[in-house]
Symmetry: C2
Subunit: 234 residues, 2 copies
């Protein structure tokens, strides 16, 4: 019999912010797949989930390149999907781990199209996103009543953010690290320098929370950070 | 000793989509507060959480009016906050339940400002949002790579949605029920009639999933629905 494939969101970092459904799957799964960039020494998703794994579960680390090059990524994930299909064919049930939620800016999305083309049973389990975890940590609503909310992922360019910053009540900037100085300037230009909170490595031992525009402008912002902007006030 | 106050996101509907952290709190809590509109016969949040409650926990239902009238809401929630402060003063630990995530369009946000003014220990536990649950259910990414994502809550008017629909790669419309016909027309006008999925009552026995523009236009859309629009295709 062909195995079942699970995509599992393990949440933002705190191992207790995983769902009961995810834990029940991990307690009886055959193989756990952890995506891992070549730079990482250890999979963050695995460190969150490992306390829930049954002792017989095999751990399979699948490497992927840290690049935005679509072609390289496609080659890697097509190869990875073949490894997965082969294991499913052997009757193994497989869980693919992803930090946060599988449907919000995750590595799972690179893999999913290759699996959806095949006739396999896929179940994806949602996880707590980093932005929800961050907002709950500081007791600050992301959006209430009729407020609009915009989520902008930053890469090297910041033009998308500048285009919409004036249209929204509340904004979440994902991965603000590369453009933190420019983000601080944009907030200052709009008198929003005290209308934000920056949460880094939420729920981990290295968690840091700052409401200070000088931190955003001048300090190093870790990769796993979330910037929440609320024009109505923090 | 003054009790501790927990805001708890119980997730979108499926009782297994609650976090381990929330369950651990419910297993030892003194009082559970369920917000309940006057129209509801039973609290949805309570029905999700009740399997995890310890037997000694008291259940306290706090009613609130189904209105957008700020003044009426403030009067109600100030009164409710006083009930909570009184119980905390008696040393009770209290959990306030909310569907989905406490920081995303929840009733908890009405209460939170009144509690934050007082010197009490507040811990808020994030929950799986309805939009994450919906996207995972249908295996459709909400946003990948550098795509932008906009979240628009609908009330009686649809102008906010029309203002931003052209600026975003992906959009989530929360509570689309009141304006479902107009939403369908806007999608048709932009040739987006096959670029959406409508998920209603996700994770419950009454769950319904539709990709059909005629359903959106002509059928009754339940209150607990999420419309996901992806211009790059579903």
């Amino acid at each position: 019999m062909i195995g079942k494939f699970y995509g599992i969101g393990v949440g933002p970092g705190d191992p207790e912010l995983i769902t009961i459904k995810a834990v029940k799957i991990l307690e009886k799964i055959d193989i756990v797949i952890c995506p891992k960039s070549k730079k990482e020494s250890k999979s963050v998703a695995l460190s969150i989930a490992e306390g829930y794994l049954n002792k017989k579960a095999e751990i399979l680390k699948l490497e992927f390149p840290m690049t935005y090059d679509e072609e390289k990524l496609n080659i890697t994930w097509e190869r990875n999907s073949k490894i997965i299909l082969d294991l499913l064919g052997k009757g193994k049930n497989i869980a693919f781990l992803t930090i946060g939620d599988p449907m919000v800016y995750s590595t799972y999305m690179y893999l999913l199209p290759f699996l959806k083309k095949k006739d396999i049973n896929i179940e994806t389990i949602p996880g707590i996103t980093s932005f929800c975890a961050s907002a709950n940590k500081v007791n600050i609503p992301l959006a209430s009543q009729e407020e609009t909310l915009s989520i902008i992922p930053l890469r090297k360019n910041i033009s998308e953010f500048e285009k919409v910053v004036d249209d929204y009540d509340n904004l979440i900037v994902m991965k603000p690290s590369t453009e933190h100085k420019r983000l601080a300037e944009i907030l200052e230009d709009r008198n929003l320098e005290d209308k934000f909170v920056l949460v880094s490595k939420c729920g981990t031992n290295e968690e840091n929370i700052s409401y200070d525009i000088d931190d955003l402008k001048n300090k190093k912002v870790p990769y796993l950070s979330t910037l929440i902007i609320k024009k109505g006030g923090i």
